[in-house]
């Protein structure tokens, strides 16, 4: 085989940028490496081997990202002992330096330094509104996938039991556990309690929570920073949609699971509407006190209500908006979804296929994102 000998290239810029110890064999200039017979200097090798086990600073010239306060694993944040380390950091052995353990941005809460990862799995916090899927039914509880590091638990005692009164669970309820939630059902719930190992306990003891139906599920990955659902004031809202398709409920679970469904008047709202219509003015605030009158067996039904085609189309459009937001790395919150939805309706009106066009992939999605970021 003929061997082509390429002309010697200048030393790779990488080597020069890496010249933390210039006497090391690998960063010799090309002349020296030729004349030196190519042998690595073992003394030099020893020098590099005797470097302290943890180099305190990993400065390289490409640290323009410091302006963005981005840190990567193993990067020392500060060695000042006045700071406390938070999530995403650790203290290297034999030092006092707080070092980052994830790639992300630094956040500071008083004297606490933590690094928020660019992307990570959902970590539950008490009070979070989550959408989850039942994956396992046990004797007295369900196990719910909420996109966390472990399955969350939903005890039988933490749901609204049907039967008209707020009551304790009985053995009959335990035997009928599958009639409330079965494997594959979707629920909206709140995180009630956390365990030390990252496990969570959910509850659905409010009329806002419970089984989900009449809609579509979207899983938005990359929670905890990267283009996911962010904790905000309003995670659940009802919005009017175009084409006279009525109202649509949107639930943005903090865990990145989203539920978009047809809005169904709850018995409470119907009652309240009737009451105000009659001028009684008894603003029926649905709370734990009058809950018992309202909870009925229908709340554990898995049967969808009849949904008009127009409503289905608008639900699909909203789903497209959420997916487009995620694909283009925008955050998903009420403001963005509502704005994006109106933008999508405008785009559909302008498109060749008319207002029935719900496609928001590829260029349409980018166009949508551009319109939103331009606003």
């Amino acid at each position: 085989m003929p061997i082509t000998i390429l002309p010697p290239k200048p030393a790779r810029p990488l080597n020069t940028s890496h010249g933390a110890h210039p006497e090391d064999g690998s960063s010799l200039s090309s002349d020296e490496s030729d004349s030196g017979g190519g042998g690595v200097g073992l003394d030099d090798g020893d020098i590099s081997m005797n470097l302290p086990p943890t180099t305190t600073t990993t400065k390289n010239p490409a640290h323009s990202s410091h302006a963005h306060s981005l840190v990567t694993p193993g990067e020392s944040i500060t060695s000042d002992p006045q700071w406390m380390r938070g999530h995403g950091t650790y203290i290297a052995t034999d030092t006092t330096a707080i070092t980052s353990s994830v790639a992300g941005t630094i956040t500071r809460t008083n004297k606490l330094l933590s690094v928020r990862p660019l992307r990570a799995r959902y970590t539950p916090e008490v009070g979070d509104l989550v959408v989850g899927r039942i994956v396992e039914v046990q004797a007295k509880r369900w196990r719910v996938d909420v996109g966390s590091t472990q399955l969350a638990a939903l005890p039988l005692s933490a749901i609204n039991l049907p039967g008209g009164i707020l009551r304790k669970r009985t053995e009959t309820d335990e035997l009928q556990i599958r009639t409330f939630f079965a494997e594959g059902d979707l629920v909206v719930a709140e995180v009630q309690q956390l365990f030390g190992d990252g496990g969570a306990v959910l509850h659905t003891r409010s009329l806002r929570y419970g089984k989900l139906r009449n809609g579509v599920f979207v899983a938005v990955s990359g929670v905890g920073g990267g283009g996911g659902v962010v904790r905000s004031r309003r995670q659940v809202w009802t919005m009017d949609v175009a084409q006279g398709a009525g109202q649509v409920d949107v639930i943005l679970g903090v865990n990145g699971y989203v539920w978009i469904s047809k809005h169904v008047e709850t018995p409470a709202e119907l009652e309240a509407g009737g009451a105000t219509g009659a001028g009684a003015g008894a603003g029926a605030g649905v709370g734990i006190t009058n809950m018992e009158e309202i909870v009925s067996a229908t709340m554990y039904s898995s049967q969808n209500d009849p949904i008009e085609v127009e409503t289905m189309r608008e639900i699909a459009r909203l789903r497209g908006v959420v997916m487009a937001l995620v694909e283009n790395g925008l955050r998903v919150d009420e403001d963005m979804v509502v704005k994006g939805y109106h933008e999508a309706v405008e785009m559909a009106l302008a498109s060749a296929d008319g207002p029935e066009d719900v496609y928001l992939g590829d260029e349409r999605g980018q166009q949508l994102a551009a319109a939103l970021t331009g606003l």
């Binding site: 690595v40 694993p73 992300g104 660019l118």
Partner: protein, 279 residues
């Protein structure tokens, strides 16, 4: 085809035109699969590897999307009572990845050993104690092989774990080193070589070394060929130095992605390092 070592002595250039201390071209990307928790794609020369990380998730088969396919195994730590996440590595080597087409079975011993090595290497760096009762699935796919396979697998897995946001002490960066003449030649003046390709790996003694970040702490050292002990130190020194170069390359990939995400507004800006030091 024997390596023409005499040509090396003439021009000090290797078969692919590199010098003794040069890495091959490294190209890497993170977040290649939107649906995965973490994903990466890495090329070291013509060795091409894809990695998908799922987790930490509830342990058990087929939960959380991707079960470790292909040659599974290499689990480190116990998913249950150990109080640490289990790292399960699955490696699939494509039949078309090498020059001669070959089927790699599910229980291929070499693949299983690679999986267990990758698993052990990452266990040294990942903070698995933060995720008790859970499991981290690392699924690696080899698309093309041209030497330094283990190093490429480790590097790809590290990148994917960074993308998945799993806390770790530092990058685990790996690379290979060899020597310019065979064991039989017993050549005292043999030079060490950095980053072996397939041809060199077949004929020359070589080792794979992985270090923890910028330190000299060796996380993996695999040597499967006969080599004089006198050459080992030189090979190791060159390998460790290559690992540091590799860490910079991996770090740059992560930084570029992170800076882009910050600029796009996906991630909120944090506090500058300078601001911290000031007060």
């Amino acid at each position: 085809m024997p390596l023409d070592t005499s040509t090396y002595n003439l021009a000090l250039l290797r078969v692919d035109g590199r010098r003794w201390n040069e890495l091959r071209r490294v190209h890497a990307q993170i977040r290649t699969q939107a649906a995965a928790d973490g994903s990466s794609y890495l090329e070291m020369g013509h060795t091409k590897v894809m990695c998908v990380v799922t987790g930490p998730t509830e342990p058990g088969p087929r939960r959380g999307g991707a079960a470790a396919g292909g040659a599974g195994g290499g689990g480190v730590g116990s998913g249950g009572a150990g109080g640490k996440a289990e790292i399960v590595v699955g490696i699939v080597i494509a039949g078309f990845s090498s020059v001669d087409r070959k089927r790699y079975g599910r229980g291929d011993k070499r693949t299983l050993e690679l999986a267990s090595t990758v698993s052990n290497a990452l266990a040294a760096s990942l903070h698995t104690n933060l995720f008790p009762h859970s499991q981290i699935n690392i699924s690696l796919h080899v698309l093309s092989q041209d030497g330094s396979l283990l190093a490429a697998l480790i590097n790809a897995a590290t990148l994917a774990c960074v993308d998945a946001g799993i806390p770790m002490t530092d990058y685990v960066a790996a690379c290979t080193a060899g020597s310019t003449s065979t064991y039989a030649a017993n050549d005292e003046g043999a030079d060490p070589l950095l980053d072996l390709n397939h041809q060199e790996e077949q004929e020359l003694p070589g080792l794979t070394v992985a270090t923890l970040g910028n330190s000299d702490r060796v996380a993996v050292l695999v040597c499967e060929s006969r080599v004089q002990i006198s050459r080992l130190e030189g090979m190791l020194a060159v390998g460790v130095d290559g690992c540091k170069q590799m860490r910079e390359i991996l770090d740059r990939v992560v930084r570029e992605k992170g800076v882009r995400m910050i600029q796009e507004g996906t991630v909120e800006k944090g506090v500058g390092l300078g601001d911290i030091d000031m007060d």
